[in-house]
Symmetry: C2
Subunit: 168 residues, 2 copies
Amino acid sequence: MRDTVDELLDEWRQQRPDLDCSPMGVIGRISRASRLLEQGVNAYFAQHGVESWEFDVLATLRRSGKPYQRTMGELVAAAMISSAAATNRVDRLVAKGLVDREADPDNRRRVLVRLTPAGLRLVNRLVAGHVDNERHLLAQMPPRQLPELANLLRALLVSLGDAQRRPT
Amino acid sequence: MRDTVDELLDEWRQQRPDLDCSPMGVIGRISRASRLLEQGVNAYFAQHGVESWEFDVLATLRRSGKPYQRTMGELVAAAMISSAAATNRVDRLVAKGLVDREADPDNRRRVLVRLTPAGLRLVNRLVAGHVDNERHLLAQMPPRQLPELANLLRALLVSLGDAQRRPT
DNA sequence: GAAGATTGAATGTTCAATCTTT
DNA sequence: AAAGATTGAACATTCAATCTTC
């Protein structure tokens, strides 16, 4: 079966036979898949009256374990957003009473963000449903292919410099 | 080698061993790869004083072949943006003299957008470099794995409903 | 009345400048 | 002087409402 990107590649082949556009077969598909999946993910959160960026911040804190806190800089890196955007997001979560903000006692330039009990309850209530929703989004793929896809994407991420330091 | 998403999955395994978060191994990686690749793509256009959304519109028109024109609705579908955003983008390209706008004579509700000579020249000047840049972005991957990745992504897109009608 | 594009309001992001702490 | 977070301005996107054409 052909997808939208096959069509796009055909058009380029016809218009510019001199170009090898095969990189678009990977990059274009990743971009498109990302947007489609994002819509599917958003749908779940919308049903529960939450913005997906809100869950994103809460989940980042939640999975760090007790005391459910991270520095601003860690939130920036995890979400791949600007520090300005992170400040804005945390502002609004503080206003909703879902997180706390506090200067890091060890280095007062840093700001620590921590889940409040309400924030912890909310994220605990939503995670399982979120992962299930993601499972549904992928459910039409042959199950064998999912780990293969994950492995290739890991190789791509590493090749792009998204490596993870091993805990020494 | 491990990536950032491996780390994330470990954290969830530790915090919520009851959950099977494997879907994040696919969806999280696609989202992250998309953002990283986007940065790499933007870098090329920034060097040439162009916004990547500008190239995106121009290239969509270019690859449609003579007379290099599409309806507004086609541009919306190709870029996966709202019609409001499309109007805004076309407005600015018209102001720059890179595209023309005209009511479709067959159905005056539709609006046709067409490359101007200047727009055609610009996109012709940029395409090859853009594809080369994409090739560089993927160059650290074992060449064998790129078509495999593209095939799995096609399967995913199709499973998400991004199928392409075959020309009957 | 529905389809297709545009408008204005509301929202969220980045960029550059600023402030505090080291 | 550099690191880290915040602020305000500029800009881009979506949503809902509107206008025109079918």
